[in-house]
């Protein structure tokens, strides 16, 4: 048991040391995970791209009321955001087999203009270290994660997201 503990301790120590030295390292990118489009096509998440413009990756589920509120709120201003910043929103549904067939009818009924994908067994959710939904990531033009939040703040959360992508589109660092 002692050997195990010391091996674990040592590896944690090394991890932490390396992690601290990593601060100057390039920012985290999206991992390579297979997910499905709403039409059943296999898509690799590392291929997400938006011509050097910012991207939003938004994890949601049909059973998550705050997630839907946020995405519906963004839907009202999404056209303006796109004109302003060229941003693309990618909505990742973590609905499992119980609800995933309902995602497409829901999305179409709300007339969302987003790219929507299904992460049925939550491989991408794990890959992006998402604890709970909603969880929103903002990526810069190089596909690096520059900002994230794991709550929907009804008190101006969407405006805040707008500030962030405006800054990122200009190449500035978001708060």
């Amino acid at each position: 048991m002692k050997r195990i503990s010391s091996a674990i301790l040592l590896s944690v120590f090394l991890f932490t040391t390396v992690a601290f030295r990593f601060q100057d390292a390039p920012l985290q990118k999206v991992p390579s995970v297979q997910i499905k489009s709403m039409d059943g096509k296999m898509i690799n998440t590392s291929e997400f791209a938006n011509d050097g413009k910012p991207m939003i990756i938004d994890f949601w589920a049909t059973w998550c009321a705050p997630c839907k509120k946020e995405l519906n709120e963004i839907a009202e201003v999404y056209g303006d955001w796109q004109k302003e910043t060229g941003v693309k929103l990618i909505a990742i549904s973590i609905d499992d087999q119980r609800n995933s067939p309902k995602v497409k009818p829901y999305v179409e009924s709300k007339d969302w203009d987003y790219e929507v994908y299904l992460d049925e067994n939550q491989d991408f959710k794990r890959g992006m270290n998402v604890n709970n939904v909603p969880h929103v990531f903002v990526l810069n033009g190089k596909g690096e994660i520059v900002w994230q939040t794991n709550v929907y703040n009804e008190n101006g959360g969407v405006e805040k997201l707008h500030d962030v992508i405006s800054k990122v589109a200009k190449g500035e660092k978001p708060e």
Binding site: I4, D39, G40, C64, P66, P101, E108, N121, Q122
Partner: protein, 556 residues
């Protein structure tokens, strides 16, 4: 197990040392370390009135952290989990601390190999789905190896071989499975380019092995199951269906009968701008499939049979939830979602969203064979016939409307019929008829303040005998978001209709929280019931509780 535990850190240390030796630190930094953490702690007060037991430890905790390393096509990671001791209501198998989840994956030219723990789903999960629902204590990861390979565009194959996670160790049986999927339009790109119909077909085979040590019965040591599926899409219509078959698999779950199992799961949807229609059908006959034939509850399930009902988010609408019945059920669901246009008479200035949902689940039409002293086939069932026993029914309407830039709200009405005998294993309990109304209003008070009020009511109807259950409930939640980072909330769920007058209890609770970036800290005090609970903009599954709670989550 100990050896396995030792291997991973040794491997990681080895890998990092190797990288140090090879290159400077910055080049090691070509890889990245990331992960997430959660701590859930609770201080308990005994409360005999609501049935909260005395907790000898007084305070309990669940905690875990994922640490992942990725470098190009390589990734490896561990999850450290600690339960000292596990939260009340969490499965008892979670004891102590350990690293039950660890993996390393290499991905090269369409071939991906994983050693260690993996989560995998074949098709819709009827014969294989390993997954995690950590808040509920479900984790049936397959520990062994997994390979995924895509030889041509449009062909996707994968295979798993391993033992399933059983709390802090692994179960007795071995699971082996292969799955293939062909996207016809991608594969025959040149000749199908102009065809509007998109066709995907797939199939899986899964086999489990467990030694037969039964002194009386001759049990199959290898149990095979197969499935076939298709997904056909044309314009606005999308059909998907999967059929699965399993050879005889006597187990504790089915009372050790030798009848083969079958399952069918299909859905048909129609979607266009502003309108979505969904129809779902599920028939399950003797389809509990576990890697240990003695396992029970959520333990060591190889497959996953969904509950074909709406997954409610509001507390009282989720009060009588349906639990999937893998031993036998036939269920269907229909849902229509419609957006009434902006500026129209019914839609109002901002438009209105309406969703109508209906679901029902029945038992199968079966004939008992009374052959437990002989062939032990148990029963026969008519495929196209529906049994007499209603398990569950839910009819609900949800309307969302924005009134003006400061005010918007959701109104939900649902009628539920709940068979407590089947769903909770009671006997001679009458059907429960419940009507639930929810009004959820968001009111933007100022630039810095938003108030959410969620008022709910549950009314038991039907026969007077229903007084045996907990009676009527009223619930009110007030949640105030302050600035960018803070929220406070207070909730009272009042069981005012409880037939036992002394049990007419107020379940009162308060919460306060702070979140910034990916850090989130929430304090709570009070009583909570089990269910999906959404507060402060986050939803999660919570068990019943009474006392102080502290939750910390973070990711990096």
């Amino acid at each position: 197990m100990k050896k396995a535990l030792l291997l991973i850190p040794t491997f990681l240390v080895g890998f990092i040392s190797f990288s140090f030796a090879q290159t400077s630190l910055n080049n090691v930094a070509g890889g990245q370390i990331h992960g997430n953490f959660e701590f859930d702690g609770q201080y308990y007060y005994p409360d005999s009135l609501i049935g909260a037991d005395t907790i000898p430890e007084k305070a309990l905790m669940n905690g875990w952290g994922n640490i992942n390393y990725t470098n190009g096509n390589f990734s490896a990671g561990i999850r450290y989990e600690t339960y000292l001791n596990h939260l009340n209501g969490f499965p008892d198998g979670y004891k102590g601390t350990g690293i039950p989840y660890k993996y390393a994956t290499y991905n090269n030219d369409k071939l991906e190999i994983t050693v260690g723990s993996s989560y995998e789903q074949f098709g819709s999960g009827l014969i294989l789905r390993s997954y995690e629902e950590r808040a509920l204590g479900i984790d049936n990861a397959i520990e062994g190896m997994r390979v995924r390979y895509s030889p041509y565009k449009g062909i996707y194959t994968k295979g798993v071989w391993g033992k399933q996670r059983n709390f802090m160790s692994t179960g007795a049986g071995i699971v082996r499975g292969v799955d293939g999927e062909i996207n016809m339009n991608e594969l025959f790109d040149s000749c199908m380019a102009n065809i509007k119909t998109q066709v995907i077909v797939g199939g899986s085979f899964v086999s489990k092995f467990q030694a037969d040590q039964d002194p009386f019965l001759v049990l199959p040591q290898n149990v095979g199951a197969w499935s076939a599926r298709t997904n056909i899409i044309r314009n606005k219509v999308n059909f998907s269906g999967e059929y699965a078959y399993k050879i005889n698999d006597p187990s504790a779950a089915n009372g050790f009968i030798y009848k083969p199992g079958q399952a069918l799961f299909s859905s048909l949807t129609y979607s266009q701008k502003g309108l979505g229609i969904y129809l779902g059908l599920l028939r399950v006959d003797n389809f509990s499939f576990r890697s240990d034939r003695t396992a029970s509850l959520t333990q060591l399930s190889i497959n996953s049979i969904p509950a074909l009902t709406k997954q409610h988010t509001y507390a009282l609408a989720a009060y009588y939830p349906f639990a999937s019945q893998p031993n036998g059920q036939i269920s269907w669901q229909a849902e229509i979602s419609k957006k009434l246009k902006k500026g129209s008479k019914l839609g109002g200035k901002y438009g209105t969203d309406i969703s109508i949902n209906y679901s029902a689940a029945y038992g199968l039409d079966t004939t008992n064979l009374n052959d437990m002293g002989g062939k032990r086939l148990g029963y026969t069932s008519k495929y196209l016939s529906i049994g007499d026993t209603l398990f569950y029914q839910d009819v609900n309407v949800e309307i969302f409307r924005k009134i003006n830039s400061h005010l918007k709200g959701t109104l939900l009405y649902g009628h539920f019929i709940y068979n407590k005998n089947v769903l909770e294993g009671k006997s001679n309990y009458p059907y429960i008829n419940a009507d639930v109304v929810v009004l959820d209003v968001i009111w933007k008070l100022s630039d810095k303040l938003t108030l959410r009020s969620d008022a709910e009511h549950l009314l038991l109807g039907g026969k007077a005998d229903n007084k045996e259950d907990h009676g009527n409930w009223a619930s009110l939640l007030e949640e105030l978001s302050i600035g960018d980072h803070f929220f406070v909330a207070a909730m009272d769920q009042y069981n005012y209709g409880n037939p036992i007058v002394d049990h007419r209890v107020h379940y009162f609770s308060v919460q306060g929280g702070f979140s910034k970036g990916t850090n989130r800290i929430v304090f709570g005090y009070g009583k909570q019931r089990q269910g999906i609970f959404c507060v402060g903009g986050v939803c999660r599954q919570v068990p019943a509780s009474n006392g102080f709670t502290l939750t910390i989550t973070s990711s990096f």
